[in-house]
Amino acid sequence: MPTSPDLSADIGEILLTEDEIQAKVAELGERISADYAGKHLTLVSVLKGSLPFMADLMRAISIPVRIDLMEVSSYGGTATESSGLVRILKDLSASIADEDVLIVEDIIDTGLTLNYLIRYLRGKSPASLRICTLLDKPARRLVDIPVDYTGFTIPDQFVVGYGLDYGEIYRNLRFVGVLRREVYASGAEG
């Protein structure tokens, strides 16, 4: 949990500044606008971490787009009980059949959640299904997933901000930073 009312005090290093993020989002928006010109594009964002990225990216895209939101449960098992299976907490609001779908992710690390989502969305018969992520952390990858649009490839560090959280906090930081180890180490002891 935060060690200070000032969230930035818990950040050991700013990895990506607000300006760097916005410049990259604008660049991605231009590429996506060009690639999908004349098509029916639906952006599918995965709550909650990708909300800021989605909000900025959709405004950086110049062609008509639909947006939709999904939320899936995250793993939270313990040593003593089964945590069951991943669940769709919020499904798409509209059909994506024959639509060109672009999944908008905040970060891809293990690829486990995204792998599940891809399988799920493919079952809804989109015309195409591609992936856009702001951050890619390949060092943690378990499931190899081809990513079509990548903002930044980042080192193997625990990052927060711009939608990314630790214990649901830090999402509202305007930059992406490395969380100081003491913050989560103290949480583990508690």
């Binding site: 792998n115 599940y116 378990l142 193997d156 583990a188």
Partner: protein, 190 residues
């Protein structure tokens, strides 16, 4: 593995990984294949490697190494041999730091501390006895005389020594799981 009886895991972190894979619908098998990696002059297998998990859908082996440093070094050596002999086999090594990062991502860092290192593994006697290669370190002479250079070696069933190793593992797993459950906030010493 969903729907089948869980195997006896050698380490509590492996059981946790199995739960994570189940959660995300990734099919897995526990130590289904044994790869010979060292032969004596008569062509007998003197050392083999059984990766912890095989993820059939991804054609990927996963080896967990949340163990003491000495054993990690040994496992790294085995992995190098495996990659030399079986270049087409895709395997990912999952170190203690990887496991901790995964648990941090899921807000379960305290659980990682309980499951890594000595708290989650078999006792020293079990570990030393279970793997005879400890006794022949430093590096044994590699004699791939009988095995074809490409080692397209059909993946075999467990080597003779593996059955006894598994019996010891079964005994130690229950003990390891109990330790993890009894000491949820204990720091690991990996």
């Amino acid at each position: 593995m969903t729907g089948e009886a869980a195997p006896s895991f050698a380490h509590a972190s492996e059981a946790e990984m199995a739960r994570i894979l189940d959660f995300y619908g990734i099919r897995w098998e526990y130590e289904p294949h044994t790869f010979p990696i060292l032969w004596n002059l008569e062509g007998g297998v003197v050392e083999s490697f059984s990766p912890d998990f095989y993820l059939g859908d991804l054609d990927l082996y996963l080896e967990m190494t949340t163990l003491r440093q000495r054993l990690v070094r040994k496992k790294n050596r085995k992995l190098r041999r495996l990659r030399e002999l079986y270049p087409d086999v895709r395997i990912k090594l999952f170190y203690a730091r990887d496991f901790r990062a995964l648990m941090l991502k899921y807000g379960k860092l305290a659980l990682a501390d309980a499951l890594t290192g000595s708290a989650g593994q078999a006792g020293p006697r079990d570990v030393d006895v279970e793997d005879p290669t400890v006794a022949i370190e430093p590096e044994p002479v590699v004699v791939p005389a009988v095995q074809p250079a490409t080692a397209s070696a059909t993946i075999t069933g467990p080597a003779p020594a593996t059955a006894a190793r598994r019996r010891r593992r079964r005994r130690s797993t229950q003990r390891a799981n109990q330790a993890a459950m009894m000491t949820p906030d204990r720091s690991g010493n990996d």
